[in-house]
């Protein structure tokens, strides 16, 4: 247990991310219509919703990767709405995009080493390889030559190195085999133990359910429901209806 983790222990419960009345646009089209939610330190929350609900866009908006935003996004006490994109990660944020974004001009290992470390206490290369043996095997091959799933792992693994404290993960289980999903689940648990804060956009509810402290349900660019792990069993039906499962 690193003291980095300890340091975060006692800060548990403090607020890591606060989003207020967030609107986001892609050019003309208005995607987010006032998103409100906050995440406490060390917490793992999920953003659930149907396709097109705006979950990915929410993460992109937090990273300032969408066309235009209004409202307020406070990370670790800093208002970031006015920040240039490259400053945001330096607040200790790690982002794993939906479309993975593996670099074909770099080999697997270069991909892993690419993101600048933003904080101390990130995972070491060995720890990562231990966690994802496939990557170790293919470490010398071009990033995009990996299979869909391997790429997903790489995208995930990449940000574990940077020592980010707040992870924004978009559909990390998409197209992954169940075994890998289990592995990833365990990874997330480990990360929580290390005191990381995680926002998880998930399609695969079975994967998300056991991990999350709270679930936010999105629809049409808004948060329409918040369900805590505790009340989950009782409200499962309601949730399914929301997700149309």
């Amino acid at each position: 247990m690193t003291e980095a983790a300890l340091e975060y222990r006692d800060l548990d419960g403090a607020e890591m991310l606060r989003v207020r009345d967030l609107h986001a646009f892609y050019g003309e089209s208005h995607i987010l219509h006032g998103v409100d939610f906050d995440v406490r330190r060390g917490e793992l929350v999920t953003l659930l919703g149907r396709n097109g609900a705006g979950r990915s866009t929410t993460l992109k908006a937090i990273m300032n990767m969408v066309g235009h935003r209004t409202g307020s996004i406070v990370i670790n006490g800093n208002e970031t709405l006015a920040m240039r994109p490259h400053r945001i990660p330096r607040l200790g944020v790690g982002y794993c995009p939906e479309e993975r974004g593996i670099f074909s001009s770099l080999d697997v290992e270069e991909n892993l080493l690419l993101p600048p470390t933003v904080r101390s206490g990130g995972m070491s290369l060995d720890e990562i390889y231990e966690m994802f043996p496939n990557l170790y095997e293919r470490r010398r091959s071009q990033g995009t030559r990996l299979s869909g799933g391997e790429q997903q792992m790489l995208a995930m693994a990449r940000i574990l190195r940077t020592g980010a404290r707040l992870l924004l993960l978009d559909e990390i289980t998409e197209g992954l085999a169940p075994v890998i999903n289990q592995a990833l689940g365990e990874v997330l648990v480990k990360l929580k133990e290390r005191g990381m804060t995680i926002v998880l956009v998930e399609q695969n509810f079975r994967f998300a359910a056991p991990l999350a402290d709270r679930h936010f349900v999105m629809e049409h660019g808004r948060i329409i429901e918040e369900i805590s792990a505790a009340e989950l069993p009782s409200r499962r039906e309601h949730l399914n209806s929301l997700l149309g499962v």
């Binding site: 089209s29 149907r50 396709n51 097109g52 939906e98 479309e99 496939n134 293919r138 091959s141 030559r145 990996l146 299979s147 869909g148 799933g149 391997e150 997903q152 792992m153 559909e171 998409e174 197209g175 992954l176 085999a177 169940p178 075994v179 890998i180 999903n181 289990q182 399609q203 079975r206 997700l243 149309g244 499962v245």
Partner: protein, 258 residues
Amino acid sequence: MTQEFVLETRGLTKEFRGFTAVDDVNLKVREGHIHALIGPNGAGKTTVFNLLTKFLPPTRGEILYRGKPITGMRANDIARLGLVRSFQISAVFAHMTALENVRVALQRRLGTSFHFWKSERSLEPLNDQALALLDQVGLKDYADVLTVEMPYGRKRALEVATTLALDPAVMLLDEPTQGMGAEDVDRIVELIRRVSEGRTVLMVEHNLSVVSRLCDRITVLARGSILAEGDYAAVSTDPRVREAYMGSEAGETEEAGA
């Protein structure tokens, strides 16, 4: 033994700079089956698709369609034979409407696709057919929407509709449900079931409930070669498969499936 197998590979192998992605695969797909190709990430599923549809040249081995070798053919000719694929990452014509997307597939049948002196309007007779197909995948209301503006899940559905438009004898679907909401998944599953009447479907799929619900036969790939083959029950109980692939989840999915 030729005819009952629509699609057959003999010693199919693909190497990328020394790395063997597909290793001596002998795949046999029966006429009329829904055949699943499953396996851990990187097993070589997509590569197999690319080889079958000639998007990649095989390093070794041959491919037979209805007993005839097609190993030497060009990708678009393969498609003309009735062997049509979808892609793992959605492939649509972004700046065309959903309707036009489907119509482009339909129009090939008219045989006028090189007629640069004909009017576009000569295609409008195809519209009803196109709409019908869109309807099948629940995209009727999107007919006039530009594809860029559709959410990811819808794009996948549109892709299936476009594939259907060719009325292929064999459909190769690479993870048709990937990144879809449960709702859409069910629709697609139903759709595949429906359209598989009178055709053969070969699909890569991770969503086991889908596999269990749909497939007559399953081939499990691991590290590029066939690990096991059989129907769902057989495969899912095969210890090697459970270990290599399904992990503990198999049980649950059966419930989910049932």
